[in-house]
């Protein structure tokens, strides 16, 4: 049978498999193995492992060590094996505990192209990659080079063609290669015929081998092709052009090194190389690992579920609330909210995605671009502009391009050079905020205004509506309040707290900010929704729809800096003296909670003694965030494992060790699951994406994660690589993931199982997350507290195995115990 090679289809599929990470400034978490999501979790992992050579679980030794340390419970192993293996349970337990398995086999990808080395002892990678990466890096560069790519108005390949025609120096060694490039009609197939031979059945595999030898760069090309707006200085590039150029460079290298003494590859393929997409033969090792993984996860899940059912001493929260506060669902807000509620029992906190249901582009004063402030898949139609005075930005001459030229560099090195020494000295002994710091506060100036109202005179800019109309505001405020169940009993002040992060010397700074705001701080959103909710016209519409916000309640925006544990209030909305003093009282509560939160976070940091007082620890945490020598300003989402969608009461009194996303939801406000659908539609990809990115970066730091960040070198402002000739490293650096336990997200929803089932089935892409087990779903019956696990398309009752959980008196003494993950505790402070 003649195998036909369909280029378009192959490239389309290849793009799906390549890393999809956007340039650094737009870093948004996503499932690293998204290409395999249509398969059930374990099957997908095995497929990725066999085809692309990724490590997908902890190693067998690691699991066994965890078991010996008691981190994987024996009872859970037995139960898992009983469920999955039935009567063979004992045999499998033997395999898990003592089975001997051979080291891994080579992945399928790479084997065919590897024949060049086998046959001709030629290292094509070493000959082709440096030139290829350099051309691509220079073309995409966003502002590192001083002398930019000289042809800027053409697409990648066209620009290189023009360069070849108009330059005395060629990028190739041979004239024949240049001729190939300059032939406008040349196709990938033509060159593949030269390199691989006539048999088209090998073409697809060859291209995969070639592209997965530098998946980072190829992934960047593919991303920029699909989302050109992801680069501020836009570029036109296609993966197809990139592959064509690489093939010609390979052809050139072969001719240059071997002369004419080489034959197309298929003449050397004497023994059959397994096809990339051949069916996967199941391996026992992978199955053993998947069983370990299940046992590892359920050891933790079981405690959490037990905790949800545990009898807690019900205390009577005052009906009259002192204040209410909306936070992002982010796991980093989990402990902050616990402290607030502890300090002021009359307050209430809520969790919701941190863009607060207002989606727009934002343009600060003097900004030449728009910044998207909503989840990555949404494309807003609105624009919010900052108003007020133009601010001066501080500069740092060390980043100036002048000191790279020899004439100005001569001057700079003899002047600025000595200042550098002083500056380094100061930075080491007294770190402080500098122009190089990526600070959440810089996102929006506290004292500037925002154009929130729609104005018919300035209605549009570049196809975006400036500001919102009253009806549009009311819709957003209503949906926000209903989805978290805050529809009555409004407190005098309702804070809306966005979050952001501050760090220095950190190319991955965007990953530390709010994922729901496309990797930016959530301050603008918090302020926008507060202003909307304070408008009498909006409240009038809301009243018509049954939500009565009394005149005595005001909304106040705020920003929580998760690295420094600081909070900024946008309190320009508070005018009366009474409210000012009320606010001042609450500020005290916030500040005390932040001190304690800093202390809880510090237990993971080697350099801070967690036994000190909360205030002094907090000061050290602040210094840490501006220290250029600190690769872990904060730990971000590390250790995340849970997402709880339900009333606060469901998880109040549980010590979850900052491992849970918390989304407020009241089943009584939403009996049909209308708002629940909105929540799950976002929570599965957002929380699940974060969770899986951490999972895969942790289990394979080499291929799926970015490895240790210490040797990273910034390429073109869009990515990092090791050294100067390396591949781009998408994924998370080891410093972010090293304390993370790779477990899937356990999504707990408080509603009736039948309603949840109907809700998740509404959209097939959301349902895929659950039916294929990429996120584990558990329903908590709101009336009986009974638990149901979602398995194979249905909810089945679940009874926790663990008998009881440890009860702790106060959190402070617990967090001083050690640095590792804690089990779930019940907090009994009353």
């Amino acid at each position: 049978m003649q195998h036909k090679f369909n280029l378009h289809q192959v490239i389309h599929e290849l793009k799906h498999f390549l890393p999809a990470q956007a340039p650094l400034m737009d870093f948004v978490h996503h499932n690293t193995l998204h290409a395999f999501q249509s398969l059930p979790f374990h099957e997908a992992l095995e497929t990725a492992h066999v085809k692309l050579g990724y490590q997908v679980y902890f190693s067998l030794e690691t699991f066994r060590t965890l078991h010996q340390a008691g981190r994987i419970s024996d009872e859970i192993i037995d139960r898992t094996l009983a469920q999955k293996k039935g009567k063979d349970q004992e045999i499998w337990k033997g395999k898990l505990l003592h089975g001997q398995y051979n080291a891994m086999k080579s992945a399928r990808v790479g084997a065919m192209r590897g024949q060049w080395k086998k046959q001709y002892n030629i290292d094509l990678d070493a000959l082709v990659h440096p030139t290829l990466f350099r051309l691509l890096g220079s073309y995409l560069d966003q502002g590192i080079s001083i002398w930019n790519f000289p042809i800027d108005d053409l697409s990648f390949l066209a620009a290189i063609r023009k360069m070849e025609t108009n330059s005395w120096v060629s990028i190739f060694n041979k004239k024949t290669s240049q001729a190939l490039l300059l032939d406008e009609n040349i196709s990938i197939q033509d060159i593949l015929k030269l390199l691989v031979g006539k048999n088209e059945k090998n073409y697809e595999q060859y291209i995969y081998d070639q592209q997965f030898a530098h998946q980072g760069w190829s992934g960047m090309v593919s991303t920029v092709e699909d989302l050109p707006q992801t680069l501020l200085d836009k570029r036109q590039i296609k993966l197809e052009e990139f592959i064509l150029l690489e093939l010609i460079l390979e052809f050139d290298a072969l001719n240059h090194k071997i002369g004419s003494h080489w034959k197309p590859l298929d003449e050397h393929l004497t023994q059959e190389i397994p096809g990339l997409h051949d069916p996967i033969v199941k391996s026992e090792l992978l199955e053993v690992l998947s069983l370990w993984q299940e046992a590892f996860e359920w050891t933790y899940y079981d405690q959490v579920l037990k905790g949800l059912q545990a009898e807690r001493i019900e205390y009577l929260a005052p009906h009259q609330k002192s204040f209410q506060a909306l936070f992002c669902i982010d796991d980093r807000e989990c402990s902050f909210r616990r402290y607030l509620e502890n300090i002021d029992a009359a307050c209430a906190t809520f969790g919701t995605p941190g863009f607060f249901n207002v989606e727009f582009f934002y343009q600060p004063i003097g900004g030449k671009f728009y910044t998207k402030l909503c989840p990555a898949p949404v494309t807003p139609k609105y624009l919010i502009k900052e108003t007020g005075e133009n601010k001066k930005r501080e500069k740092d001459l060390h980043f100036s391009k002048h000191n790279h030229n020899f004439y100005s560099g001569w001057f700079f090195s003899q002047t600025l050079g000595f200042w550098s020494a002083a500056k380094l000295f100061i930075n080491l002994f007294k770190p402080s905020m500098s122009p190089a710091t990526a600070s959440s506060l810089r996102h929006m100036d506290k004292f500037s205004g925002l154009q929130v109202d729609f104005d018919a005179l300035h209605a549009e800019e570049n196809g975006l509506q400036i500001g919102f109309k009253m009806e549009e505001m009311a819709n957003r405020v209503e949906a926000q309040l209903r989805s978290i169940g805050l529809v009555e009993n409004f407190a005098p002040i309702i804070y809306v707290v966005g979050h952001g992060a501050s760090s220095v010397n950190n190319p991955h700074y965007a990953a530390y900010d709010c994922g729901a705001c496309s990797g930016r701080a959530g301050s603008v959103n918090a302020r926008v929704i507060s202003q909307m909710a304070n408008k009498p016209a909006v409240r009038a519409i809301l009243a018509e729809r049954g939500i009565h916000i009394p005149e005595t309640s005001i909304f106040v925006g705020a920003l929580h800096d998760t690295t420094r544990d600081e909070i900024v209030f946008y309190d320009d909305q508070i005018n009366s003296a009474d409210y000012k003093s009320l606010h001042a009282q609450h500020e005290q509560v916030f500040h005390k909670a932040l001190d304690l939160n800093a202390k809880e976070r510090s237990r993971r940091f080697e350099s801070i003694n967690s036994k000190e007082t909360a205030e002094s620890i907090h000061e050290k945490i602040r210094i840490r965030s501006v220290s250029i020598f600190e690769p872990r300003p904060e730990l971000n989402h590390a250790t995340n494992a849970l997402a709880i969608v339900g009333r606060r009461e469901l998880s109040k009194g549980l010590f979850l060790d900052r491992r849970s996303f918390l989304n407020s939801f009241d089943y009584r406000v939403d009996p049909t699951g209308e708002y629940l659908f909105g929540i799950l539609k976002a929570a599965a990809p957002v929380c699940g994406g974060i969770n899986l990115e951490y999972y895969f970066s942790r289990v394979d730091g080499e291929k799926l994660g970015a490895g240790t960040k210490l040797p990273h070198n910034v390429m073109g402002l869009f990515g990092v690589a090791n050294g100067i000739d390396g591949d781009l490293r998408p994924g998370l650096p080891a410093q972010m993931t090293e304390v993370h336990d790779p477990v899937r997200l356990l999504l707990i929803v408080e509603h009736f199982p039948e309603v949840i089932l109907k809700t998740i089935q509404k959209a097939s892409d959301t349902y895929e997350w659950f039916i294929n087990d990429w996120v584990k779903l558990v329903a908590v019956h709101p009336e009986t507290q009974a638990l149901f696990v979602f398995e194979a398309g249905a909810f089945t009752p679940y009874v926790p195995l663990i008998k009881s959980l440890e009860v702790i008196k106060d959190v402070e003494s617990v967090i001083e115990r050690h640095q590792e993950n804690f089990p779930v505790y019940l907090i009994n402070q009353y």
Partner: protein, 624 residues
Amino acid sequence: MTINTLLPIFIWVPIVGFLVSLILPKMNERLISGAAFLTMAIQMFAATIYVADWIFTGAKTFQVKEIILFQNEEYVFQIDFLFDKITAVYLLVGALLTFMVTLYSRTYLHREAGYKRFFNTTLFFYLGYSFTTLSGNLETLFVGWEILGISSFLLISFYRERYLPVKNAVKVFSIYRIGDVGLILAMWASHHLWGQNITFYQLNNAELVHDQLLQHSFIGVFISSMILLSAAAKSAQLPFSSWLPRAMEGPTPSSAIFYGSLSVHIGAFLLLRTFPFWEYQSSIRILIIALGLLTTFITTGIARVQSSVKSQIAYASIAQIGLIFIEIALGFETLALFHFAGNAFLRTYQLLVSPSVVSYLIREQFYSFEPRAKTIEDSFPKRLQLSVYVLCLKEWNLDTMMYEYFWNPLKWAGNKLNFINGHRLMLFFIPAFALGFYAMKQTQLLSENLQEATPVIFASLGLLLVFKSFTQRHSVRLAWILVIMNHCWIALAISFNEKFDQMENVLYLSGILVAGMIGYLTLQRLFRIEGKISLSRFHGLSETHPKIALVFLLACLGMTGFPISPTFIGEDLIFSHIREDQFALAAIVSLSFILDGLAVIRIYARVFMGPNSKTHAEFSNRYF
């Protein structure tokens, strides 16, 4: 006792610090970095006081004669120190920067698997730096020079389980090796020029130097050229520039301090130190100025097109060093020192904060973006502009040039020797060696012409062996034995020269044979555990056999004539017996030394470094 005699403490402090850091427990980060921090704090504090006192007491240049390591009637190997303005500046800048970077790395390297190794190597590097900058003669300088070379290799390959760092470490080592041999040849010629081992202090005697050079102008130029070769290699001047950006593979602080600042300025130091020697050789001064100027222009061009932040800083730094070379050649010593200090500080800091470039420049761009800012190159004619751009992007082919014109011909030659296998080696070379040995005992049997030619022939035979070793793709042990045999042939070749004391050969070969034996036994042991290992790929075995790896590394150092074995002095001694008219012999022996070192380091890298062959597929992406 004057304060002058205290000078060696600046060697002893890093030695003690280094040795202490070796024995500290691997897991105790606090203790390891604490030891390094304390060492550097003492050094910096002492250096500051010392220099202040020295300035206060008149800032006079002085030398300190330390120990004599070897001596016979015509040859002395002694450790000397010299202190003057140049040393003072290098001492202070080095101590301050290393101190700050040590402090920086305490936190920065937290939880890194090689935490201890990093501080060990850093202190070792600093020891080499101190030795070099304090040295009072070429021999002492060479001790430091060798330490710098090997510690650079270890720092670049810090992430030894990855492919690129190891590959680049070997690449940099090979360039350094060229510099080493330049220095050996300079020492050789200088020995013949002066008839003794001269100190830098004596070079300051202008009359003496001038008289001597008038009589031997050719050899004077030769020495200066060799010094320039060494300096250019170490300071990444043309044509060696491309190694510097490729050295940026280790953790950022080590790249910052060593390749951003201290290590690359050592070439400039060598020129400053030897300035009185070539001061009156206008040809050399013009050559240095031309080289500096060319380097400055070319590397500025390359820096301007770099799209990665570290390579941009590296090339910008090379351009400044080019200017420093010019300043030195023009005799502006103080300016050069000032420029060195400023450039070292600036580049260190720039590299340390290089990760910040993303947030800083993106913010800048967000507020002040212009679609295409005009640069000077826009005024060039289009064709010229594009051609220069492509050349700069390809780094003027500097990286491939070393391969095309130097290493590849050597490899080609080595591959022609594929017929040599273990058996044939025994069959031919051992009887030949015995015959040679017999001939040496019975020199009177050989005709005069033959006597003249024999050393060259024998050394060439030795060179063939090391070619073979260098390109060996399979047997590790064969490659190792070939290096040992190469040294034996060299020893035999030199023995034909008159007035040769066999004791000197014993000194030379004792180190080689002991190290060779140890290395062979460790390899045997490794084979018993791991099965046969070939040189065709990396095996990364230091991960599973750290102890064997360490012993083998020490054996490698012994084999390369590192200053831990008597071979170090032996090598120098061997050269002193090559007569000044035997340029061919000198060339062959020095080429042998370059390749010996490379062959040995290549064996170490292939067997013990790189991705582990058990856990890494052969054809996977190596560029992580």
